[in-house]
Homo-oligomer: 215 residues x 2
Amino acid sequence: MKLYTFHRSSASFRVRIALNLKGLPYESLPVHLSRNGGEQNLPAFKSVNPQGLVPVLIDDEGHSMNQSLAILEYLEETCPQAALLPSNPVDRARVRSLALMIACEIHPLNNLRVLHYVTGELGVTEEQKNTWYKHWVELGLTQLEQRLSQEPQTGRFCHGDTPTFADCCLVPQIFNAKRFECDLSNVPTVMRIFDHCMEHEAFIAARPERQIDAS
Amino acid sequence: MKLYTFHRSSASFRVRIALNLKGLPYESLPVHLSRNGGEQNLPAFKSVNPQGLVPVLIDDEGHSMNQSLAILEYLEETCPQAALLPSNPVDRARVRSLALMIACEIHPLNNLRVLHYVTGELGVTEEQKNTWYKHWVELGLTQLEQRLSQEPQTGRFCHGDTPTFADCCLVPQIFNAKRFECDLSNVPTVMRIFDHCMEHEAFIAARPERQIDAS
């Protein structure tokens, strides 16, 4: 398989973790989101994904897929081991809802194109932009903390004692939050799970600075 | 089953469509997002969902689930007919990625809490807020149009000739876009599919103005 990826892209990071957890080898095809005016906007990549977003997974039959959570579901369906979703539908719903809390409520407000719009079109100051960033991350992570600390299904990972889609989404979000110096002191359960994930080779090997395009 | 819902909430609307398409009866429990300072913030609802977001589905065994796309997956797994995902994993990935383009790239930037922050904390004008809204909707729908008009899997619905998760997400987004008077003249394939959906009773019965809390 081939993965169009950018080392700092959270969505690419999610897929790299899932591929590693399943032990699936893949070739990294880097797309640098801030070099050359954004390589995602060049014709070469637009022909792969007209939306201009990474990640894009090309499977062994040449099928092209985008949207990180759709790719995770595809990997789960075609390569069930190691399972990244529990077997029970109610538990599966819990894992997916934790993943979506990150993918729909936190991350979309803080990606590059939105931050550019906030400073460019809305003309807010650098400080307001950072406040915006921290607001959505800290709000989202606090709500995640509330669930993870109170729901009995939480284990060493977000759901039980093996990694799931939720952990694939959580880890990249924390990397981002640290880069923007968000306050993480109020989310001890989130950080306990993050630290546990980062002891595992599948997560370590997916880190931004371990990618071939890390500068 | 019971559904905590708000008539104008796009995420609730998605779930109402899916329940109707599968012929599953449910009781609507309205949570008015702008009355009483936002009923989602009252203790009565916070005990149901500490995140304060609708929809929440309570299944017949009393399990509580949130995040609309996680609920759709749960319904698909527990009540496979009518199928809202194709059977082939590559096609399923396509449907999910279309749904996620709406759920992750368009909708999160335009919900109430974000619009409040933009006018409140960032202090932008009403006009800038409307420009913000239209920017993300029109950009996202243009990208969706590009895919739907070019990919051969598109049929009378987003994928083939029966409704899927993608249509459950598309219809509420168009309702919202119309409410904010977005320009929809450049997305003819999107609108052709929308019009086709709105001929079906499952979609019609899920419309905001057909809900018991519509004012």
